[in-house]
Symmetry: C2
Subunit: 419 residues, 2 copies
């Protein structure tokens, strides 16, 4: 496995990126509200409306100050997830209002604290979950969502760690009960969660991991997964060839027809967990397969079928657990166990690439194209990288352009990807 | 809790029971097939066809001999479950052909073994699962389904133990992961599984048990359940009054609308388990709410809903696990843990009443009327009891008679219940 401290630099940078960095204050009610006093500003990634990549820009915003129970963090690195792409498209249930600053996780240094924030001190190295607004130079978030990181853990690692490893851990050990000798099927085995799942499975003896991934990733991740399948073929007969009785745990981030396939592949007493719905994303903008449509198109399951087959069907959304359902206690418990595994050098986040805030479009395109192996990180202190010619073979979003032109008058602002 | 070794005798016995004991050989192809040789016979409970109580009688049948891998058991006691009532009605998926001998669990003494039955000896005291045919003086079943019982465990207790405690244990600790401080909702808290669930919950510290039961059972079971509700009222607002955030585990044997209610009552990361469908049973015979209909009437669940709400939906069928899905290994592991808890005197089956084979109709009526508190046992060596006047207040099946008369020409054989 590629060490996390030697990630490759963010690739595919357009030269005109710098002009993206604009003062966005006039358009932003939040920063305009401060009246006459001189307020500190910070750089953020701003999503001006739901849609394509052109809705993203780097802007200046008034710096937040911590409220009671909040910790103010000088951000060093932020995680970029497939979910951020769905947010950009507005392809989520009850999307918030735009403009907004995306991002759900970051790492950094505690810079200030509000009242009642016992346990934290200025200078603490932390990772944090944020209910949006993580992609900024400064973040304020309640202390329930902030965790001091191990001394050996880099900020890059911490930003790569939070969502993916916590989700993987809680699914494998809290929702399911991964034990010696079990088998696990995970889709997008080369992605952030997929690699976290693979590493966590390796902490239990004799666990078989079946994974699907694009063929070009197989060489890079083959040591972390027992059996790798091309994501473009039907994995069901392939798994059955190797394990006719099925698998114990299926982790599904694809949804749709994969629910039926996943349930069908389970052994008795096995657990299927839906933790995402990335198949809902097709083009660059919200498509025919929007969230509302997908809800109805997904195969519903009769509990009597689960009864007859002795099967378990579960769903897991870390963000809902944290921000809607008051689940910070079980999450903290998972984080503590994960830090212990990290300190024992049993797990280590795999980082795909680092990107400047100004490179967020390229980073998003990379995750859209499923080009990443491991986690994409926004490195807040990183300057934008010049265009690298050797990345020009990556899939471009040709075919999406037309849709963009038709539906989006802001297209002139769009930063082309690898011209 | 009432001690299991002082159960009350089977009540409500009709005087003409003895004439039920008839030689059924001429009607039975199995026993007629033996040709000229003199074969040993045994008493069994025979279900002559699917339908009402009149389809049950005690008959003689050729005694089975153990095949390779099978253990022959001289039966002392058999368990009677709600499922047996559904079998009698033919109210199950893919019902077997009649005539058949019902019953899925028994206890007794090993009398003979087939080839390859290492680990067992003649004289061993055992409990066993049987894929039908348990309600007989002798049973042969593969050794995978046979367990030596602790020295202190009576045969009555063992027959009361197998299905109920194994199901309760596997649901609480294998499908869900019951831990300190959790809460559990169980329906039919006075029944065999309900009482097993309550006892197993008491082995974990600080577990809150919510139970529903008929009001007349409340006094008897109040010490085993933290919060008891009348089964005739809506338990959802009652539970929410006490625990607004919901419960961690819901065990549902009712199905139908209770699936939605149960899922709705779950805390985030909570588990709903369907383990039966007793609401499908209404009258004495298979009704409008037959199995096939119920399948479609049960509310199907969208996995995206589970994802958004962080919930787990599971089904558990011990018999399917054992006899259709090769799950004898996890079941044996559960049995071993349960025997250890029994030996530590942490659990003890609660027996409602003992019944002679000839009293099977009364026993079934009692479970149909939900009159039992704990487990009903067929005590193979027990002679039928004379009618007891003080039981004449129990619910009779008046109202079902008419249906029977219309549809069933065998009605003359029907043994009336408490005339």
């Amino acid at each position: 496995m590629k060490p996390a401290d030697a990630p490759k630099d963010g690739a595919g940078m357009a030269a005109e990126t710098e002009r993206m960095i604009e003062r966005d204050g006039a358009k932003e009610p939040e920063s305009a509200a401060s009246g006459g006093e001189t307020r500190k500003e910070m750089r953020v990634v701003l999503l001006t409306g739901f849609g394509g990549l052109n809705k993203l820009r780097v802007a200046k915003k008034a710096m937040p100050e911590p409220q009671e129970g909040e910790v103010k963090i000088r951000v060093k690195a932020c995680g970029l997830n497939f979910l951020d792409l769905m947010v950009r498209q507005g392809n989520i249930d009850n999307p918030p209002k735009t403009p907004l600053v995306p991002g759900f996780e970051c790492s950094g240094i505690v810079e200030a604290m509000g009242e009642n924030t016992q346990g934290f001190e200025i200078g603490d190295r932390v990772m944090a979950f944020v209910n949006y607004s993580a992609w900024a130079e400064v973040v304020c978030t309640p202390l329930d969502f902030v965790y001091k990181i191990p001394d050996d853990m880099t900020f890059i690692e911490a930003a790569a760690f939070s969502m993916n490893f916590v989700a993987a851990y809680m699914m494998l050990f809290e929702v399911a009960a991964l034990r010696e000798g079990m088998s696990v099927l995970v889709h997008s085995a080369g992605g952030g969660v997929g690699q976290a799942v693979a590493q966590l499975c390796s902490t239990v003896s004799n666990v078989t991991v079946f994974g699907t991934a694009s063929p070009f990733k197989h060489e890079a991740i083959k040591d972390s997964v027992t059996h790798l399948f091309d994501r473009n073929i039907d994995y069901v007969p392939e798994v059955k060839k190797i394990s006719p009785e099925g698998v114990d745990i299926v982790l599904d981030c694809l949804c749709g027809e994969n629910t039926g396939k996943g349930l069908g592949l389970l052994k008795p007493l096995g657990t299927y967990i839906l933790y995402g719905s990335s198949n809902m994303v097709t083009g660059e903008t919200k498509s025919f397969f929007s969230f509302a449509k997908s809800w109805w198109q997904v195969e519903k399951v009769n509990p009597i079928k689960l009864y007859e087959e002795n099967k378990v069907m579960a769903g897991f959304s870390l963000l809902n657990l944290l921000f809607k359902q008051g689940g910070c206690k079980p999450v903290r418990s998972a984080v503590e166990k994960l830090f212990s595994l990290y300190n024992q050098k049993k797990i280590k986040p795999l980082v795909d690439s680092l990107w400047a805030l100004e490179e967020v479009k390229e980073a998003m395109q990379r995750i859209h194209d499923r080009g990443n192996i491991g986690k994409l990180i926004l490195d807040v202190e990183k300057p934008p990288t010049p265009l690298m010619a050797n990345d020009s073979t990556e899939t471009s979003e040709a075919g999406e352009d037309e849709e963009e032109h038709e539906g989006d008058s802001d297209n002139k602002e769009r930063m082309p990807f690898i011209q």
